[in-house]
């Protein structure tokens, strides 16, 4: 089944693993959860030998254990979960994994945008059917959130702070009363949420101030802040994990040399340090330099070497991708990259030689092309 999909949702992709976990799970399960909280944690964070399982469960989300625990516990309680953090920190991925593990359905998603209306959260009408048969439950189109309520599963709301305040506030009654009334209908006009219903919302902390959440809504969510990964080791894990997945998806058979991964991580770490010490926006790259961005750079480099290169990932290609992905503004970003290349990469290339030297050359060439 996964072969037909460009990107299978977590519950499909890990269906077999989830089945197995469900079969051995003897812990108490809240509401209609398919797995007990501990198994959900195990699914997300992977197993260890000390867990005493017969098979290994891979780690799917990398980050502090307590974030996952706090998220699971929130979903088991009365409140919604709001994952907040910088772009590229894996909020949506965690939300997807949690929904997949808890209710085997991570696709009931509302994407918050400036154009999101209350209909997207509650329900709308099939106009032709309303004309033909009048308003009834059949002619009603329930939103993903309403469907989640009816089924007692997790509904997701991506980029909550992108939608306008009045739309956000439609969630208040859903989260506190746990029902939606349909005043257009005379009978059967209330949809009650079944046990197990909850909402996982994500919000981008860089969007703060665009559409601030009302305090009433804040009160109904527990906030879990996901920080940018700064530990080099876990970042390497994340990049390796996601890239392997991408390679598999693209059916590319290519080796990812660890030294190149080191170069990538090191250059991002350097650029982040530079951004942290910058005094104005002009001295900072526009990119947030998140882990997701690193994965993007690597993916780009891999695809490039696969289709236009000799099917080996080279430092030169990596440098080209890095410059290409990060240089968004000309001349500001290019100037920063130029400074970085000559101030940091060059001495390192001279000192360490090898792939740093190639990386240096590639970057230089890419900067020259773009300038």
């Amino acid at each position: 089944m996964t072969d037909d999909m460009l990107r299978a949702p977590a519950e499909v992709k890990y269906a077999e693993e989830l089945d197995w976990l469900e079969s051995i799970d003897d812990g108490p399960k809240p509401f209609s959860w398919r797995l007990s909280p501990r198994m959900v944690r195990l699914f997300v964070l992977g197993s260890e030998r000390s867990d005493g399982l017969d098979r290994e469960i891979s780690q799917k989300w990398f980050g502090d254990r307590s974030f996952v625990e706090r998220s699971i516990v929130t979903l088991a309680s009365d409140r919604g979960l709001l994952l907040i953090g910088d772009p590229g920190t894996g909020k949506s991925w965690l939300a997807e994994l949690l929904s997949a593990a808890i209710c085997r359905n991570s696709t009931l998603v509302v994407q918050g945008t400036a154009g999101t209306t209350e209909d997207h959260i509650k329900y709308s009408w099939n106009v032709s059917m309303v004309i033909a048969k009048g308003q009834s439950r059949e002619s009603m189109i329930p939103s993903p959130i309403m469907t989640a309520m009816e089924r007692g599963v997790i509904g997701r709301f991506e980029e909550l702070t992108r939608s306008t305040s009045d739309v956000q506030d439609a969630l208040i009654s859903i989260l506190s009363e746990k029902y939606v009334s349909i005043p257009e209908l005379d009978d059967d006009n209330i949809v009650f949420a079944k046990p197990g219903f909850s909402i996982i919302a994500t919000a981008n902390s860089r969007d703060r101030g665009v559409n601030d959440l009302s305090s009433a809504l804040k009160r109904r969510f527990n906030f879990v802040r996901i920080p940018v990964v700064t530990s080099k080791r876990s970042e390497a894990e994340i990049v390796r994990f996601r890239t392997t997945e991408l390679l598999r998806r693209h059916r590319i058979d290519l080796d990812l040399p660890p030294t190149l991964l080191d170069i990538l991580l090191q250059s991002f770490a350097d650029l982040r340090a530079a951004a942290a010490s910058a005094t104005s926006d002009d001295e900072k790259l526009e990119s947030a330099l998140s882990t997701a961005e690193q994965i993007g750079v690597l993916e780009d480099a891999i695809l490039h070497s696969q289709f236009f290169g000799d099917r080996t990932l080279r430092a030169e290609t990596l440098a080209g991708s890095l410059v290409g992905s990060l240089a968004r503004r000309s001349p500001e970003d290019l100037a920063i990259l130029n400074k970085y290349w000559h101030g940091v990469v060059e001495p390192r290339g001279k000192k360490d030689g090898g792939e740093w030297q190639e990386f240096l050359e590639g970057g230089r060439k890419a900067i020259a092309t773009l300038s």
Partner: protein
């Protein structure tokens, strides 16, 4: 104890080692299996060995309530006669002062006079913080307050601490625990209470390499070391009996000892310490003849599992204790705090507070009566009861408690619902007070979440850490409304930071003196809040002494310890009213550390002034600064004279003039002060002026040419020479020296050339007219115009030596503004402003005043304004021409002619257009014939009036 007490356990462990061994059968696999077996059985051997020791070893861990509880129980049961404690032996006298302090405080040893350490290593400082919830405090309190009990500190002296330190003095930094760093700023102050001292702790028990700790944390599913310790050791051991406690602690000590990096410098240092301690104990036992059965050796669990050959009373392995260096150590108590301890030893924020809370809870729960020093500050008064006689039961054979402990899950307490509820309610209240929109619903959510989290983490009841996580989850939203976030609030709730205070009696003489002398202010100096003191020195002249002291403290203490709000002290000035913000309670450590330098603050200040003036890098300006300070704070006198003499010495030895501006400013101030305050100038002042005169005359020609020397420096030299001239000449200097020096000067830089001209004009060699002519020539020469601003800068600086040039500088500046092309003028303007602000702040008023005198004050008069330098003096006009030229407009006065001659450009343009080249004619006397134009105007006055109104309006 029978030799095979732990036989069963050992067998079991060896079986386990075999079971875990890889089955590949290679040599490496066999080695690994052997190593594991060695470690596991070795650990049991260590426990066996430590327990079999004749001298009872009491293993402790720092800031562990379980250790403290076990200590209380053991001391009550055994009542030893001698307690050996793992603490620097030279800190012993300080322990008696602990009762005068509010804990936590730190024992400090301090040395600034180094002898035997590499120069530049000092000052050396060691702190050993003591909290109430620690096993060592229990031992100290028991030993000091029980008659007939001796407390012996056996660890190496503080001097050895530094002798044994590697070249890089800092301990390897521990990873900063995560979380809670948002309010680092607030915490910073308390956390910095220990300064940059080297910390020592009793019972340091922590994995010796990062991977082991990470492994334990990972598999223990906890976030930081304190949480691991609490969950896996602290809680199970809190209610355990003594044997279990001892065996488990030694086992953990042995585990960390065996799993450590080989060839570790720290390990060899620890082993050295163990040799030291055992040697000291043996010496003491031999000297005092005490029965080892009546003794108790309190040391870190790590040292209890020691394998050094000196271990045990039975050992007679020799060890020679190295001598101390000649460094003079000073000792004192300084206030400490929980957060300072956490920061010093890399513990998670809040962990020491939580340990303190756990301790007090455990004491109530188990109804133990902890020991407390008589008169301990900050503690509830308790009737002291005599200790019941010690338990006389003969030492029962030690049973194996480890097997049980290791094979069964720790027996944890059930959910203490009432406690958790109280926490939930309190945290919501606290959060509301700190700006959070928290409500009862949140309290319920926190309760529920804590229980769920604990369940998920395999704990029967939520620990404070679970509670903290739950509170953060439920209450913390996207922004922190106040100063503290929920994590910090939880820490406050669970005990909060405690900040110790050193009692008056335990303070060094200097600090006591400060407290005594500030008493008339009527301010409570022990409070940690900011205190405002108001001193009205006219109505209460007796407060002048307090004021003096406060000014000295201001000079010696950190910036915000004492801060004047109103009132200042400068040479020759004293305020009649002063108002001060005092934060003495907060800066107790700084005052105590001043106490290491002297007996009174005056003495300390005097020493410091001397030290700065006699420093190898001292300059004349620095010495003059010291003289100023000596006059301001110590009333001048002998010390000021000595420092002044030193300044003369330094000045004559100086080969650069970098400090000339500073020297000039300071000596001027001092001269003004002495002239006003004393009948005659002190000798050193006279010497300074004469030396300075000769010195600067000598250096002047070089300074003028030298590219490195700035204009400001040269200006300051000239300033010195000219403004001190009369005094210098009266003291026997010769003006010819200056004249020759100026003659010898041939600067090339434009600014310096301008300075030289100014100097020559001041000397009378160059007249003002000549000077003006030179400057006009500069302006007229298109090749020099670009560098004119530099000349001008030179003249601005010249105001210092020649203030009389102010009108000329204004003139020059006006000309520059009028005539310099924009391309030259505009880039230079910002530079002029910054130069004026940075270097000639005091000259700006002079310039402004002069400009105010020169330029008209009102707009209307500006039109008719002719700058004084443009209006030719009468004599010059007479020379220029014999009288009105032929054809001059007779009686051509009147507004129209004035207007036209005032704005000639338009007429010139018209004339050029018409081809008229007659030029301008002099206007004849107003008294002459009015002429045709005047007649015309008189006939039609309306137009002229309107124009006049327009122009003047």
């Amino acid at each position: 104890m029978t030799p095979d007490t732990f036989g069963a356990l050992r067998g079991q462990l060896l079986d386990a080692a075999r079971a875990f061994a890889p089955t590949t059968g290679t040599d490496e696999a066999a080695d690994a299996s052997d190593a594991l077996a060695r470690i596991l059985s070795g650990m049991v051997d260590d426990v066996d060995r430590a327990l079999a020791e004749e001298l009872e070893i009491f293993p402790v861990c720092h800031h562990s309530p379980a250790s403290a509880l076990a200590m209380v129980r053991r001391l009550r049961e055994k009542q030893p006669k001698v307690v050996y404690l793992e603490l620097c032996e030279d800190l012993r006298p300080l322990l008696d002062e602990l009762r005068n302090c509010r804990l936590p405080v730190a024992l400090q040893a301090f040395a600034s006079d180094l002898d035997g350490f590499p120069p530049g290593a000092g000052p050396l400082s060691v702190v050993a913080p003591i909290t109430e919830a620690s096993a060592e405090y229990q031992a100290i309190a028991y030993a000091l307050d029980t008659p007939g009990v001796e407390l012996v500190l056996v660890d190496r002296s503080t001097d050895h601490v530094f002798q044994w330190l590697p070249d890089e003095p800092a301990e390897p930094a521990r990873p900063a625990p995560s979380g809670g760093d948002e309010d680092a700023a607030e915490r910073g102050e308390e956390a910095a209470l220990h300064g940059d001292a080297v910390g020592i702790e009793i019972g340091d028990l922590r994995p010796r390499f990062a991977e082991l700790e990470a492994h334990l944390l990972h598999h223990g599913k906890v976030r930081h070391w304190s949480e691991w310790w609490d969950q896996y050791v602290e809680q199970p051991l809190t209610g355990a009996d003594y044997d279990t406690y001892r065996q488990v602690m030694v086992l953990i000590g042995s585990l960390f000892r065996r799993l450590r990096p080989s060839e570790d410098e720290r390990t060899s240092r620890d082993e050295e310490r163990e040799r030291y301690m055992w040697t000291r104990m043996r010496e003491h036992l031999a000297a005092s003849g005490a029965d080892p059965a009546d003794c108790l050796y309190v040391c870190g669990a790590y040292h209890a599992a020691s394998r050094v050959e000196q271990f045990g009373l039975a050992s007679d392995a020799p060890y020679e204790i190295g001598p101390r260096t000649g460094t003079r150590w000073l000792y004192g108590l300084i206030p400490s705090s929980h957060s300072a301890i956490e920061a010093q030893f890399g513990l998670a924020p809040g962990s020491v507070s939580i340990a303190a809370a756990t301790w007090s809870k455990a004491v109530t729960r188990f109804r133990d009566t902890p020991f407390r020093l008589d008169g301990q500050k900050g503690a509830a008064k308790r009737a002291k009861r005599a200790l019941p006689p010690p338990a006389t039961s003969a030492a029962a054979p030690v049973a194996d408690r480890l097997s049980g402990f290791l094979s069964s899950p720790p027996a944890l307490d059930g959910l203490d619902e009432a406690e958790l509820l109280a926490w939930c309610v309190d945290i919501v209240r606290l959060a509301r007070r700190n700006g959070y929109l928290a409500s009862t619903a949140d309290a319920i959510a926190v309760f529920e979440t804590s229980v769920l989290l604990a369940g998920m983490r395999n704990r029967a009841r939520p620990t404070p850490y679970d509670f903290q996580d739950a509170a953060v989850t439920c209450i913390e939203k996207d922004v922190v409304p106040g100063r503290r976030d929920v994590r910090r609030l939880c820490e406050i709730l669970l005990g909060g930071d405690r900040i110790g205070q050193v009692g008056y009696e335990a303070l060094p003489p200097l600090a006591r003196d400060v407290y005594d002398r500030l008493e008339p202010l009527g301010v409570d100096l022990e409070k940690r809040t900011l205190q405002r003191a108001l001193l009205d020195l006219t109505t209460k002249p007796e407060l002048a002494r307090c004021s003096d002291l406060l000014w000295i403290l201001r000079r010696l203490l950190p910036e915000d310890a004492v801060r004047p709000v109103m009132g200042e002290r400068r040479l020759g000035e004293r305020s009649v009213q002063e108002s001060w913000d005092l934060a003495i309670g907060r800066h107790q450590r700084s005052i105590i550390e001043l106490g290491y330098e002297g007996v009174t603050v005056e003495q300390v200040l005097e020493q410091r002034l001397r030290r700065t003036a006699w420093d190898a890098k001292a300059t004349a300006a620095v010495a003059l600064g010291a003289v100023e300070d000596a006059i301001l704070y110590l009333g001048g006198g002998r010390i000021a004279d000595e420092l002044g003499a030193r300044a003369v010495e330094l000045l004559s030895a100086e080969r650069t003039v970098d400090d000339a501006p500073d020297v000039l400013r300071r000596i001027r101030r001092l001269l003004a002060y002495y002239r006003a305050a004393q009948p005659a100038l002190p000798e050193w002042c006279e010497a300074f002026v004469t030396t300075g005169y000769a010195h600067y005359c000598t250096l002047l020609p070089t300074a003028f040419v030298d590219e490195e020397t700035g204009v400001r420096q040269v200006a300051a030299m000239l300033g010195f020479l000219f403004s001190m001239e009369s005094l210098a000449l009266s003291l026997g200097c010769d003006r010819a020296q200056l004249e020759i020096a100026v003659l010898q000067s041939h600067p090339e830089a434009p600014a310096k050339v301008a300075l030289l001209w100014a100097a020559r004009s001041q000397l009378g060699v160059l007249t003002m007219a000549e000077l003006r002519e030179r400057c006009d020539a500069l302006l007229a020469n298109p090749l020099v115009v670009p560098s004119f601003p530099m000349y001008l800068s030179g003249f601005v600086q010249a105001l210092e030596p020649a203030p009389a040039l102010a009108p000329f500088v204004v003139e020059l500046m006006s000309k520059a503004f009028a005539r310099l092309p924009d391309a030259v003028l505009l880039p230079w303007l910002p530079k002029l402003i910054t130069t004026l602000r940075d270097q000639a702040g005091e000259l700006v008023p002079v310039l402004v005043r002069e400009a105010g005198r020169t330029f008209p004050a009102a707009l209307p008069s500006l039109d008719a304004f002719v700058p004084p330098w443009s209006a030719r003096p009468a004599g010059a006009a007479a020379k220029a021409g014999p009288g009105p030229r032929p054809g001059a407009v007779r009686g051509g006065g009147g507004p129209a002619a004035e207007l036209l001659s005032g704005h000639r450009a338009a007429c010139d343009a018209v004339a050029a257009l018409l081809g008229c080249d007659g030029g301008w004619q002099e206007i004849a006397d107003a008294g002459g014939d009015p002429g045709e134009a005047a007649a015309l105007l008189a006939r039609h006055p309306g137009t002229a009036d309107a124009v006049a109104a327009l122009l003047h309006g």
